[in-house]
Amino acid sequence: MSRFSLALRLLLRDGRSGELTILVLALIIAVTSSTAISLFADRLHRTMSTQAAEFLAADLAITSSTLIPPHWLKKAQSLGLKQARTAEFSTVLIENDELLLSGVKAVSSHYPLRGVLKTTQSDNYNEQIIKHQGPAKGEAWLEKRVLSALKLKLGDSLIVGEKSLTISQVLTYEPDKRGDLYSLSPRVMINDADLEATQVLKPGSHVHYFFQFSGSTDALDKFNRWVKPHLNVSQRLMDIHADRPELGSALTRAERYLGLSSIVVILIAGVAIAMSTRRYSERHFNATAILRCLGCKQSEILWLFLCQFLILGIASSALGSLFGWFAQETLFHLLRDLLPSKVANPSFIAVILGFLTGLFILLGFALPPLLRLKKVSPLRVLRRELAPLPTSAWLVYSLSLSLISLLIWQYTQDLKMTASIIGGGIISTLIAGIILYALLIQARRLLPFVSLSWRFGLQGLLKNPKMTVNQTLAFSITLVAMILSYTVRTDLLNDWQNQLPEQAPNYFVLNVFPTQVAPFKQTLRQHNIKNIDFFPVVRGRLVKINDIPVQKIVSKDSQGERATHRDLSLTWAKILPHDNKTVSGLWQPSVYGEVSVEHKLAKSLKIYLGDKLTFTIGSQQQHATVSHIRSVKWDTMKPNFYMVFSPMTLADYPSTYITSFYIAEENKNILNTLVKKYPSITVLEVDALLKQFKTILTQLTEAINYLLYFALLAGFTVLFAAVNSSLDSRVYEGALMRTLGANRALLRKAHFIEFSLLGLFSGLIAVLISELLLYAIYNYVLHLDYQLNGLLLIGLPLISTCCVSLAGFFAVKDVVNKSPMIIMREL
């Protein structure tokens, strides 16, 4: 008979006896959670990218200053991708003796591939939604202010270059507003077929082409991979994170949270697996000694048990992957009302990854205790007291730490941060362990002074202080993991709620002249729109950093490069917006020539404190010294700025003002009043963006809540594993005490005291470690503010005490209920 059959038989017998229940449960939970999370996150990411693609008017877009080669389009066609093209350029329109610099957009058929256009044919805001088509040939759609500025009305002719077009609609919304709010000269939209007839574009004309594609994810991925190497310096693929930072920020943060949740569940499950395997290993010392006696070699012993665990791992991981699949399908079903009708298909690779994660966790956490079996001496058959030396603590901790470090690094993508989190965790755990050990040693002095039940309870913890410390730390780590998951989730959701309250601004107004600000505010107040901030804006372009042209500094295709290829909205302020947080430096608004820079742009442009920046504003050059670098919350629906100057620096330049405010659906006619009174203003509706944003956040909230349950489930397995791991000795001693005459009440009280103390110590240590780690995670990974949580400080030790004491009480109930003789025989 082969060794494999022996291993299988041993496994089945142990399985039938319930030896492996907790271990299998922990592994299934870990794999289910890991598979569900990675499948869900992957599908949600791809679905949201599709939704977010509406703001690119496509799934994928290439921007270029020239026409792209026809064979690129043929390639896209061959992959089954739909295509559209827009061309944007500025031109001066002259009508009725009025001049206007406008932004013309020539659109092809099928535009927009994603999202919609909105137009109106009257003065009020009753819009119609138009999908996948722009103006017909010979027609033009104009923004309201073009009509106002050129004194035109619907039905009139508009001459663009050499071509006369009929104004058929008023354009109120287009999904793919480019760059920042100010790349919007007043819009004129024409049909692509009329472009040549305008004769505006000549060799050397400044025009932006946008080649848009939509289709299946596979086809898009293939085209993306194919086209990337072909792009030249003036071409790039548009990216939702860079081109829509407010959306990208929320997506990134949510994905990071989902990733952290996954790590948390894996960590908790790993602790349960380690504890269960330790008990399993110790329970097999005698059997191993017999096998050694009968001639089994050390390597064969290890193989026998590894084989069993591999079979267990494969079966549990397969089951966990299946459950994970169903779990994410269930979640998508629950969220069906919130999601688009077409959700991205599940990826088989995510299932495989979940399966492999299970094997990885099992080997990582189960191997050290199993290695101990290899060292069991055959002499144990004669001397029961002979136990193999524990596997080197360094090996045990190194393996587990390596696994966790790898996972954390994968999600933070920051080696320094991973090291900080792991380092902080290790140091705080070690300190806590040492303090607890010292406390336990000293607690022995209390024994003569306490009652019998307290003495028995305390002795349960004191007889082997090292084991008590290990058990306490294992449970503490579990609590820490669960706290991390819960606290981060809660604060993440609260943060989003705070950023997007019910009445978050849904309209932006630009191009308010300085003299109009006060009356504009007054008009708003009359309509009960109060406390609105106006921000001055000057358009300028960053040209030099420390007298070096920026093109020589920036990396190709970076955020910094894009920021230097266009005018930025420069503003000034005495007080920075309250949600702009200082990263470094000191904001000195009273000093002339100071500028505060957004930190991601600063990093991309390699800008540091003290650097001298040179801007071109109109025909003038303006210098400023970087005195302050700050973080900006892009997802707040308020005006945000890369560059904020000290007031005196830009005050002399011609400027306009920008603001944002909330208008309820039923009050939208206020906008008519504003536009009539201030015809130069541009009103941008961000309702669609906001609604979309809120929908995405709601989806994420549901997912995050759902995922927390996995962490809780895993936590419970650890609780039972922790209690079970030292159950045998407790049960034996209890049976002996009952044999000697101890009554049930005494035993129950002693057990309650022992487990309560265990729970209390675990809770206190968990509070210490979790506060340290939360601080690190909030500040460096999630970029949120963290404050000490009083509820956690008091609540966690109490909850921990209750849970552990109840679990322990339940686990040892046989000791007080069964006949001591039966228990002695079963042992």
Binding site: N286, L379, V381
Partner: protein, 225 residues
């Protein structure tokens, strides 16, 4: 048929000292003996005299701190742990005071185990035959928990003899049994021993049992008398 009366076990100045918190403790010292093939030897002595230690050194379960042990001319003291394991599988059988059966295996599976570890394809047939020999053919599928002490020891005897070992080590085989059951077990032990012509090394504090062996080695305070 009688096996050749060669020396199957030899020791030279065998000794075992262990470190303790009070300094080194000498459990066994200067034991030099020879055991011939098919001989039956009783190792007797009071509790703590070093009997079990001597047995463990003779069987290769432990390594001495002084001296050496040879089994069939091979110095097992210098062998690796795996080398000794292989030797045990090939040459040695054991019977223990506390039976030492695998609790999750049936009687049949316990007896099959040493043959399975050798890769013997006829393990089941051999084990069934031997369990029948010890009178347990009706208990093949029962686990140790369902067997009495005597029955468990009979299973242990069957396991010890199923490989037809050259040497059988028995450590207080009746220590956990009542006297009547113990007598039956001993009778069975010696019957099987005679049938298989196995060298028997028996540790006991029972002088009556020791008298049934061909030779007695007495230990006192770790020394051979």
């Amino acid at each position: 048929m009688t096996k050749s009366q060669l020396n199957i076990i030899e020791t030279e100045n065998l000794g075992k000292t262990v470190p303790t918190s009070d300094g080194p403790l000498c459990i066994l010292s200067s034991v030099t003996l020879t055991i011939k093939s098919a001989e039956s030897i009783a190792i007797v002595g009071a509790s703590g005299s070093g009997k079990s230690t001597l047995l463990s050194l003779l069987a290769g379960l432990d390594t001495p701190t002084e001296g050496l042990t040879k089994i069939k001319g091979k110095n097992i003291t210098t062998m690796s742990e795996d080398g000794r394991a292989e030797l045990r599988n090939q040459l040695v059988g054991f019977v223990f005071q506390s039976f030492q059966l695998l609790p999750s295996f049936t009687a049949l599976e316990n007896v099959m185990l040493p043959l399975e570890l050798r890769g013997d394809k006829n393990a089941k047939a051999s084990a069934t035959k031997l369990l029948d020999r010890v009178g347990l053919s009706h208990r093949l599928t029962h686990t140790p928990m369902k067997l009495s002490g005597g029955e468990q020891q009979r299973v242990a005897l069957a396991r010890a003899f199923v490989t037809e070992p050259a040497i059988l080590f028995a450590d207080e085989p009746t220590g956990n049994l009542d006297s009547k059951t113990g007598e039956h077990i001993i009778d069975l032990l010696f019957e099987l021993n005679q049938e298989k012509q196995t060298t028997l090394v028996l540790v006991t504090h029972d002088n009556a049992l020791a008298a049934r062996c061909q030779r007695t080695i007495k230990l006192e305070a770790g020394k051979m008398l």
